[in-house]
Symmetry: C2
Subunit: 250 residues, 2 copies
Amino acid sequence: MKAVVLLSGGLDSSTVLYQAKADGYKCYAISFDYQQRHRQELQAAIAIAKIATATAHQIVSFDLRLWGGSALTDQKIDLPENRSLPEMSESIPVTYVPARNTIFLSFALSYAEAIAAERVYLGVNILDYSGYPDCRPDYIQAMQEVFRLGTKQGRHGQPITIATPLITLKKTEIIQLGDRLGVPWEQTWSCYTSGTFEGTASKPLACGVCDACRLRLAAFKELGRQDPISYLSTGAKTSSQTSESTYVSP
Amino acid sequence: MKAVVLLSGGLDSSTVLYQAKADGYKCYAISFDYQQRHRQELQAAIAIAKIATATAHQIVSFDLRLWGGSALTDQKIDLPENRSLPEMSESIPVTYVPARNTIFLSFALSYAEAIAAERVYLGVNILDYSGYPDCRPDYIQAMQEVFRLGTKQGRHGQPITIATPLITLKKTEIIQLGDRLGVPWEQTWSCYTSGTFEGTASKPLACGVCDACRLRLAAFKELGRQDPISYLSTGAKTSSQTSESTYVSP
């Protein structure tokens, strides 16, 4: 059995990759270089696909700066900093990229049909869909219809299905699931920036103040744990090399 | 009013661009360089967007050769030649590109939302949907749901609509519509190859034998007309510079 797994390199999609593997699929990871501000995530995706022994990993490149419309693709729009969780869920954030998941799922569908895969895995979850329209269950259902009607495989065989194993999970629950699956958290990248190199660091430091960093930090904190990646600024911690070994997959 | 128009540079999408203009929209054309075999069509799209005085024209580049799966993106798969119309409609052809329209519409949706456009125009028609799953009315309807549910604009305002003005038309009727709208046929490119330069030709010659050429030639012939573009091989004609001036838009 084959599955295409949308892999951004963050906590969620990395957990989904390990879940797909646990579900018994040969995993074909797909990532996107859309000239996002946080292209550092691609390095994380490459490392994780390798550690998870994905069968293949495609990186599709295009430029969403062409029309911008998001803080992630337009350097003139500032990233929100130091927002509380309630503030984040008030409205669709400036980090919303118009139709991003539709673009991502379309490429995943094309890839899946070309290699005759049965499934496409996507890491959307409750936290996402409080903010982003293209992460909600009704949207996923609409895309499922597109998967069925818009392909040869869907019309003449078994439609490729969209699997969203995290859709009912909170960030803390995703971390607990990933722990059980052996996700190498120290390799993941969630930050909306591409990080900062400081001192003798071999890896960039996550900013610690963007929405993505704050959600991630809050979840680890709620679990009474330290996030094994290093941050430039958190108020709480900047690095935790000591705890890292706990999370390294075998 | 703003509309995004999917413009491949062929007969159908060029007619749709002129229709969108006639409908009163400021037109934002979008074309795709996906490393298709017939990238010559992009030159046609550029010329037509300019002649039609489109407000903007975006060309989005990505590489669908990554996974192939189509004669248009994999040089190892031969293009069908000299097929009759009934043969063409027997099954989904090897020129089917997995999920291509879904990818194209996704980018168009992203562009439309970023510029606050009301509509996306797409040139699908009866001829297409006899063969291609992602050209049929039920598929378009499924994508319309995605447009509604997958965007900020669709959730919180008026959804961006998909307009398919050619969906009930045959190729001959499209040509008749394009005539009325002033589409410069001599600038369009339908051939599945990028053409051949011969002698002192300043433009490449269309092959005349692929499905796209044959459908186009058959439609002009049925109307008792000469196709104003030049062909390498048709049995019927190779060039018709004399009739060209008839179709040049002012």
